[in-house]
Amino acid sequence: MVAIKIENLSKKFVKKNNVTNALQNINLEIGNKQFFGILGSSGSGKTTLMRIIAGLEVPTKGIIRFDDKIVSKDGKTIVEVEDRNVGMVFQNWALYPHLTNFENIAFPLRVKRLSPSAIKNKVTELADMLNIREVLYKKPRESSGGQQQRVAYARALSKDPSLLLLDEPFSNLDATIKDVARNYTRELQEKLGFTAIIVSHDPADIFSLSKSVGVIHKSLMLQVGKPIDVYKKPLTVEVARATGELNVLKAAISEEGNGYVARAGKNLSIPLDLGIDSSNFSRGEGTIGFRPDEIKVVRLEEDPSSIGKGFFECGEGIVVISSYSQGSFRVNLKLEDSEGEFFSLNNTPIPAGEKVRIFIRKGSAILFPLNGHEIPAK
């Protein structure tokens, strides 16, 4: 219900004699009714960006517009938090511990001086939508984590905000209910039609919810785009790492036939799919990345036909160690005559020291562009 435009936004924090750049030169447009994700690790500046949008912090430089109206500009708040009509779900939910869940949800409505019956209707409607009717008259601490989170949603939504801000809303939830929470978040947004921004370090939140994502790293917005594009075609190693696990190898890049090949050591050679515009990419020394689930390994004596279609053999490696994580074995590998380690996910562990054949999914290796690491223009 509101479109947001951010122009040349920077934020500096000054503490004693230390100046920290929390955000530098951010430009962003978030369309009306869009679900936008801000992805970044802790300390990247992502929460600061959200707090500036909310109006809880003032940008040092730059302009923020809600629709066409300027709400913050160059160190000044033009429209106060109270008047921005935003709802926010805090990481720790920030429920008022001394009030019942009902009163928590009713708080923004009481501030607006709605009639008691209107308040009751609104709270009950939201409670039904979020399935928290049975805990309405309990205090937040007497409710489960999932319930508290839904109360926080209901409070944020009770005043019909045009923008909902979600600050790591799932990080305090058990893994089992995270998906449930993501699902009702999506449903609420579709049903109520508010613009939403979610800030998270967890790519799962972004991929399950947002239609568009901005990846922020060390105060810089490195890439903005559809989640799938950002995942498949990250501009920098940092973006690739923020969106999922990544193997990175130094490699020699050369032109061969009508394409490019990356070689690491004697044994590994990976053809690269660079698309049309290859002028940006380096030749000679370069950095390639590939997701661990895009490579598979097979012991020398094993039959490689178990590996699915789309994979082709690209070289040979030596197992450093096998460990277990989340349903599969993580096999760490090195190359015989080259530095650097990488890993693959396997159904069975492979003893250390054993040689394996490496397969990679066609077209999945990423060559990072020359200027990809560089900081965008000041």
Partner: protein, 278 residues
């Protein structure tokens, strides 16, 4: 096994030392109690360290004599404690919200105001009270107490408020609440224990204060109970059971509060030095 005996001996010694120290620390109260309960006859026959047959005569006589000042003390201590806690927590709310450097300066001033030897302000204080015609009156006393205890209240509440999660106030702002709503509906209820501590601390301190009423009053019926004790000090013609009875009557209120709500008093004390951990 000798180690075993060593440990038991140590434990016994530990307890004995504590008990001896506790007895020494309780000794003045023992003296206070036994002597305030002595009759005039036994005053003349026993030294003050030994008990005698008890009688409530001294307590009753003294209570009658100082009942007016007891009431004054109660009115002053309650109103000063309440105003200091409430106004102090409002100021603390400002400190909590403000981000400018002035904040540090004002806070330093408040800390100095809390700890200044207030005796030094006696002369200007009296001149001011006389000028605004409240010298030697209950309002004048309350005003004088507030000058010294409001900074204490603000200091204590600032420290209690510092542990308040910022997100509680931020979410109230996002919910559209103004300062007054945030203060009354969120900050005030959430800092309730700190408020009680501040109230108790200021209550006990102002009940016990001697110097302020000494300076700002000169008629006995405006006096407070801790000041009136002065007339019961030892000297020719004063029987010590009256002295002790007066001290006992004056000490009952703060001591009962200390026994019942001591933890709040301790939190107040701790906050004065230790920050919010108390």
């Amino acid at each position: 096994m000798p180690n075993h005996y060593l440990r038991i001996t140590r434990r016994i010694a530990h307890h004995i030392v504590l008990i001896v120290l506790a007895i020494i620390w309780l000794f003045p109260v023992y003296v206070l109690v036994i002597n305030s309960l002595k009759s005039t006859a036994s005053v003349l026959t026993t030294p003050i360290l030994f008990p005698a047959a008890s009688s409530l005569t001294a307590i009753i006589t003294v209570s009658r004599a100082i009942s007016g000042t007891l009431l004054n003390s109660l009115i002053i201590a309650i109103s000063v404690a309440a105003v200091s806690a409430i106004i102090g927590s409002m100021a603390a709310y400002y400190f909590y919200r403000a981000t400018s450097k002035i904040n540090d300066v004002i806070f330093t001033i408040i800390a100095i105001a809390t700890f200044i030897p207030y005796e030094v302000t006696a002369v200007p204080l009296i001149k001011l009270l006389i000028n605004i015609h409240i010298f030697d009156s209950l309002p004048g006393l309350i005003f004088s107490f507030l000058i010294f205890f409001l900074p204490t209240g603000a200091l204590l509440m600032s420290i209690f408020l510092a542990v308040l999660p910022r997100s509680a106030i931020e979410s109230a702002r996002i919910d559209g609440a103004n300062n007054w709503t945030i203060f009354s509906k969120v900050v005030f209820p959430l800092t309730y224990p700190g408020l009680v501590s501040t109230f108790i601390f200021v209550f006990i301190e102002s009940w016990n204060n001697f110097f302020i009423p000494l300076m700002t009053t000169n008629t006995p019926n405006i006096s407070t109970v801790s000041l009136v004790l002065q007339s019961y000090t030892g000297g020719y013609g004063v029987l010590y059971n009256d002295s002790f009875a007066a001290a006992a009557v004056a000490s009952v209120v703060p001591l009962v509060i200390f026994v019942l709500l001591g933890r709040y008093f301790v939190r107040g004390l701790m906050a004065m030095g230790n920050g919010a951990k108390g």
